[in-house]
């Protein structure tokens, strides 16, 4: 069985922990609890004929209070960048983290998740911005840890790119 380490990266409060909880445990909590350090969860997924053990690293969010240490990224096969659709600047922060992740890991697979799709009417990230990212070769998926929309798809899409 393949075992792959993937990391979730993004600004604080974009929903990284909630996405992992939804994916691994199928649960969601409205309460925001900031993550300190990292936490690892494990989930087995089927990708075509292959079975992959995903080791999902939930890395604390980056903001003015905490900077992500790239040492947590070592050995990762890919990563999910997470931005909050209702906060445009989290997309800029995802860009910055992406550059650091590429420096640390090289050209490994990644996806951009625009989370909080259940609040789409309050989004400040525009269709044009998403389209531009698509033109730049980014794969952008809309997710909602609250409703579960797009969550499994996001993890399995990344897993498929790792095998």
């Amino acid at each position: 069985m393949l075992q792959k380490k993937i990391c979730l990266l993004g600004a604080s409060a974009v929903g990284k922990t909630s996405l992992i909880r939804r994916f691994v445990h199928g649960t969601f909590s409205e309460k925001y609890l900031t993550t300190i350090g990292v936490k690892i969860d494990k989930k087995t997924v089927e990708v075509g004929a292959a079975t992959v053990d995903l080791l999902v690293w939930d890395i604390y969010g980056e903001d003015r209070f905490q900077t992500v240490s790239t040492r947590y990224l070592r050995g990762a096969s890919g990563y999910l960048l997470v931005a909050d659709g209702t906060r445009r600047q989290t997309l800029d922060e995802a860009h910055a983290l992406h550059e650091r992740a590429q420096d640390a890991l090289g050209p490994v697979p990644y996806l951009l998740l625009l989370n909080k799709a259940d609040l789409e009417q309050a989004w400040t990230i525009t269709e044009d911005q998403v389209a531009t990212l698509g033109e730049q070769g980014w794969t952008v998926l809309r997710t909602s840890a609250k409703t579960g929309t797009g969550v499994d798809d996001a993890f399995t899409t990344l897993a498929a790119r790792l095998v």
Binding site: K5, S12, G37, I40, F65, R74, G75
Partner: protein, 374 residues
């Protein structure tokens, strides 16, 4: 559990400090040295043993950390390699924040694990609160931005028809004056014109108050010039009301009358105070603007010989949407605008009774370090 003589002292010391020490064996298993610290016994009793344990199999994070330690450890990292904090769920389901260190000493590979710092809980609370505040601040900012758009749409949408109505009333008045129409028709036209002007003034106050609350300071305007300009602008109004306007100030010296602020809003502050004074000044009296410089502070006083402000109203003068009993003001934002503008520039504003009678509104501002010219 008796300590082994070889490791007893340092490992027991570490244990007392809440650190558990393991030594890596040739087969990749780990053996605990010294006594287990309390937290280990409480949360992972099966690991609080001198029997070899497979720590990487028990803790996913450690597996990666130790693998990385073996792969990436180099002399530049120094003798100790720290994992950084990680969360681990204990056997009874409690989440603990731990931190690990590897240490190579005299050919032995040691692994030290301890709960992350004692003040970690406090750090988490502060971080949580800070981030929650950041989120609230962002939501508030968004709400302000939406109001800004709404306000500008409102002002724009109302200004255009008001300007049209004012022009129409003005033309009508000219026509009727030429045609020598009945006085009650002229009165109605004048009334309409005054109402439109009042509505325009209210819009201006709204815009001023908003700008004062949101715009940054951009310069060091000359208060003497601003007062001269403002008085020139209000002189026709003063003449119409039979009031004299006077600027009482020593001519600018070498240091000038530069103050903290920006010219446009400074003139609005002066305009509001002088216009206010003109409304209450009796016919035949004088409204005086007096400027004084005292060291690093410049003071401006606007005095009239009107009835003054009733003492009960003085504490509320500079509040938002405040209007006097006679409600001759507009939206009740004029003095509020003055206050938040002056305070925003590091100054202060106030009111006192003038002697022998009348009102005296004053504000003081920090003098600019450099005058406008420089």
């Amino acid at each position: 559990m008796s300590p082994t003589p070889r490791d007893s002292l340092p490992a027991s010391l570490f244990s007392m400090l809440g650190v558990v020490t393991y030594e890596r064996q040739g087969d990749g298993q780990y053996v605990m040295l010294g006594q287990p610290p309390d937290w280990l016994t409480a949360h992972w009793p099966t690991l609080a043993t001198r029997q070899p344990v497979d720590l990487p199999a028990r803790f996913l994070f450690l597996a990666h950390f130790l693998e990385e330690d073996a792969a990436f450890s180099d002399p530049e990292d120094g003798p100790i390699h720290a994992s950084g904090p990680w969360n681990e769920t204990s056997m009874e389901g409690q989440e603990l924040l731990l931190e690990a260190f590897t240490l190579r000493l005299q050919g032995r590979e040691l692994l030290l694990i301890k709960p992350a710092r004692i003040d970690q809980d406090r750090f988490r609370r502060v971080l949580q609160q800070s981030r929650e505040l950041s989120l609230e601040h962002y939501a508030l900012q968004q709400s302000i931005d939406q109001r800004e758009v709404l306000l500008h749409c409102l002002i724009h949408d109302l200004s255009t028809p008001l300007a049209g109505a004012r022009s129409s009333f003005s033309l009508l008045r000219e026509d009727h004056a030429e045609a020598d129409m009945e006085s009650d028709v002229t009165e109605m036209i004048d009334l309409g014109l005054r109402q439109v002007e009042k509505a325009q003034r209210m819009l201006q106050e709204l815009l001023d108050a908003y700008m004062a609350a949101t715009q940054a300071t951009t310069g060091a305007p000359d208060l003497y010039d601003a007062a001269t300009e403002t008085l020139a602008l209000l002189r026709p109004t003063a003449r119409e009301r039979g009031v004299r306007l006077d600027l009482d100030a020593a001519p600018p010296d070498a240091s000038g009358w530069g103050v903290a602020g920006d010219r446009r809003r400074l003139e609005r502050v002066l305009f509001n105070l002088v216009d206010n004074a003109l409304r209450y000044a009796p016919v035949g009296s004088t409204v005086t603007v007096r400027l004084e410089r005292d060291g690093d502070t410049v003071t401006c006083q606007v005095r009239d010989a009107g009835p003054g402000v009733p003492p009960a109203q003085v504490p509320h003068l500079f509040r938002k949407f405040r209007q006097g009993d006679d409600a001759v003001g507009a939206a009740g934002l004029g003095l509020y605008f003055c206050r938040i503008t002056v305070e925003g520039w590091g100054g202060s504003i106030g009111y006192r009774d003038a002697q022998p009678r009348g009102a005296c509104f004053w504000f003081e501002l920090p003098a600019a370090v450099h005058d406008v010219a420089s």
